[in-house]
């Protein structure tokens, strides 16, 4: 039963433990909030983060593509972290070269604004906003009350798992509302934000190599 599948407005999606969404019908893999070059940005501003997080994230992405063989990678924003990350785009281009047949499309997020659009388009296709496909809007920002079905990222959702002694621990999660899906952040070096429970909302924890619905 792992990874679990969900139905969302006539489409079937798989929730992957590596914090990605698989859309078999469209041969598409969807991720959000990669924050490439975040560690790089920290280092250039004097905060010592070891190198390796960017490489690891790209390797995780390669492994997913290897496993699911999608024709398209859809990134729901915050592909890069900040201005200083522009040079990590070289790494991204290098990585791209290994997957020539793959289409990479990005719905730009707030962090992507820090990088020139031209630099970004070296590595991927930028989608216009709003971008709608299969009756679903694909965007970086989730909405308070979505007018139409939407799949988004941005908030880096997490959920609390409760332990036997009443304590808890936070892990990344998928948020599945009747009209909206929010993806966990794909990047290794990213934090998270606790998601409140709500009527009709389902939270799927993605941790320890599994995706499990929490109640």
């Amino acid at each position: 039963m792992n990874p679990p599948s969900i139905q969302f407005h006539g489409q079937s999606f798989q929730l992957l433990p590596d914090r990605a969404l698989h859309w078999p019908a469209a041969r598409t893999l969807i991720i959000a909030d990669l924050h490439l070059g975040k560690a790089h940005t920290f280092r250039s501003r004097g905060l010592p983060v070891p190198a390796g997080t960017t490489e690891r994230d790209l390797a995780r992405l390669s492994a997913l593509i290897e496993a699911f063989r999608p024709e398209r990678l859809l990134v729901l924003g915050d592909l890069v972290h900040a201005r200083e990350a522009e040079s990590t785009l070289d790494l991204l281009c290098e990585w791209r070269a290994g997957w020539v047949a793959l289409e990479v499309a990005v719905a730009p997020g707030n962090h992507d604004r820090h990088v020139q659009a031209e630099s970004l388009s070296r590595a991927c296709r930028l989608l216009e906003s709003p971008y709608v496909e299969a009756g679903i809007e694909w965007s970086h920002h989730p909405q308070e009350k979505p007018a139409r079905p939407i799949v988004a990222g941005h908030v880096h959702p997490t959920v609390r798992l409760n332990d036997f002694d009443g304590s808890g621990v936070r892990v990344p999660c998928f948020v599945v509302d009747p009209n909206q899906i929010i993806l966990p952040s794909f990047g290794t070096f990213t934090g998270g934000c606790a998601m409140p429970r709500a009527e009709g909302r389902r939270l799927f924890a993605a941790a320890a190599g599994r995706v499990v619905e929490t109640r």
Partner: protein, 871 residues
Amino acid sequence: MSGIKGIPGRLYHLVGCAKVGVRAGKRMPTITSMKRVEPVEPPACFPDAGTTLLERWLRSTGRVPFAFQRQTWTRYLAGGSGLVHAPTGSGKTLAVFGGPVIERLSEDAPIKRTKTRNATEPVRVLWITPMRALATDTAKALTAIVQGVGLNWSVETRTSDTTATTRQKQRGRLPTVLVTTPESLSLLISYPDSREMLAGVRAAIVDEWHELLSTKRGVQAELGLARLRTVNPSLRTWGLSATLGNLREAHDVLLGPRQTGELIHAELPKETSVESMIPESIERFAWAGHLGIKMLNPVIAELERPGSSLVFANTRSQTEIWFRAILDRRPEWLGQVAIHHGSLDRKLRQQVEQLLREGKLRTVVCTSSLDLGVDFSSVDRVIQIGSPKGIARLMQRAGRSGHRPGEASRVICVPTHAFELVEFSAAREGIAHRRVESRRPLEKPLDLLVQHLVTIAAGGGFDDEAMKAELRTTHAYRDLTDEEWTWAIDFVARGGPTLTAYPQFSRVVHDGAGRWIVASERMARMHRLSVGTITGDGVVGLVTTGGKKLGTIEESFIGKLHPGDTFVFAGRAVQLVNVRQMKATVRQVSRRAGSVPQWAGGRFPMSTMLADAVRRRLDEARRGVFEDEEMRRVAPLLRLQAAWSALPAHRELLIESHQTREGHHYFLFGFLGRLVHEGLGALVGYRLKRLADAPVVATYTDYGLELLCPAPVTIDEPAWRSLLSTGRLVEDLLACLNAGQLARRQFREIARVAGLVLATSPGAPRSNRQLQASSELFFDVFTDFDPGNLLLEQARREVLERQLEINRLKEALLHLENQSIVITRPARLTPMAFPIWAQRIGSQTIRVEEANERIERMIAKLEKAAVADAP
């Protein structure tokens, strides 16, 4: 004041315990290591002109110098350094400040009269105080002396409270006497012109050294002093300390390994009387009470008496609760009752301090923010809410009353749960016998070293050999190895020992002439923002919609609130409007607010000494000896404990085994203090986890610890013996350190000091928002990508040294080995077990399980449940 003091018609009576006479100067057997250095020969012209002038002024105010003051002056004038041990209110300020004053008065240069700041004499004295709240008071006291003898000196403060304009002015020209904090001194040193600026400092005085001694801020002070000594090799260093178990060591740490000095004791009688407020009906009195609000009526009765009172609570949240409760009961006291704690805005705090000084307040409800201070002679009584946590601390707080030399100090203790009556009784005994705690100095914290290197690099740069030598003049880094030095340089220059691990990173660079300097002005500015954030979690500023500053509040608290939620701050109900850019805007509301903010920190562990004193009291109770009123009043509950389980004898380790829906609980009553129990919890928890092959959560308090395990496991006496054995101690400790989340937790502070986590203080630039990552994230990334990083190493070392200190643990285990084990199986939580059980909610817990392992287990459980639920 002796005998029983009953107040008829009230719900309580005060136990007028025998007044405990303590002669401050009397050398007690516990402090035998002190030895007095013979006074040196007085200078040839003694009494010199300066001493005569100072004494003449003192006489005109009706005072004569005490012997210890004269002794300190003489030593200072002879070029000496040292530590003055004197209780609060004994004239210690004059003792250490008199020297520099006399020195100037004796100089030939005429004293000019002038009104402008820039015409006052250049900098001479640096006064370091642990708390910024003290700075203003100290400056006032020093100004009084300066003006009294007619010196043309300026006295100013420089703390995080000082405005930017004043700080700018001071950097142009320092005042004659600068009152500052360790952080602000560090900041001052980070400016390139600091060497010339500080060259004139002849005397560095560290106030309340006992407060700084065992903290990183103390090490920061040591580093600042080392820098001052480099700039001026003839610098004289003086410290002031309250009573400590290890005064000689405190003296040695202050002066560093290259200097000798003198330990001077004030020979002043200072009596301390400890009294307890006892609830009338103790049977219905909860064991882990609700912050003692039940004692509100008798406390109010005490506050009704003429004169002013300080009410000490142990946490900032408790001050808010008590302040509100007092005003609810006595609305007409509005304006006469004030609140004071470290999170309140500086202006509010200063107002309160001023009113208190003028005797215009009936009561101030405060935390340790008012533990120290120079001039609150108008305080008539001190009330302590809850456990004093340590014998020295209670003495210190009592010392806030009867602040004038020779006057008795008196403290009234209010229990928040019945067990605290035993603590009060034990603390009184401790004070009477002078069993006062020691505070251990810290050994070379690397995070602080890294911070200091960037500070010096920004402040004009350094070359390797000179800097290494300077560091080794401090006690903390006296044994700094070349390897550690190289690592620290590598860390600030390249991020780590390998070039590949940290590309693009550099905080300091070589200037080409053999000196290390800061990489850029931008880096220097960013560094200054992070200096001085040693304590304190991420905080946000709190302002009203009208723009009035109220103070600061922990980010973690505000993060849980939504706009429209109300809470209590500075004694008033406020409603959250929004949070933007590290600033929370609130509006005042009239309705009663629910929650009281929780501030991190400020929870002192009980000292081992007090815990042991409590244990002795319990052993007496077991033998039917109830020596004072507190013990007699708590007797029924102790009998209940004995009936349900047992009261531990002096050479007995009591273990209660108990079962609930949560699982199997084992309560061990070690009476070794919270710190030791934390270490024991980690060790025994780890061993139990292996034995039971199930997760274990350890919870610890000052009295004992609880091990909770969801799987059934029977442990007989031999099994306990092996769980508590000293065999394989080091191996097991290291294993549980790697497995547990202890290092991860300890890393929080290290990340902050080493400048990994940026200050989220109000006013920090907005561009820093792209640089926010939690220390946990750093810990994980370091662990995965640079496991050899010494900051991780330091986190492990700090855990090993402070929480799991091997020697102390071994001592504790050996101590337990000699005790007989008594295992009881009570049907319900006993009076002694309940407070430990309740503590788990307060998250004083240790998990002996790796984070990944824990998540895996919890996910697996969820999945199992999901499979079972599936149709």
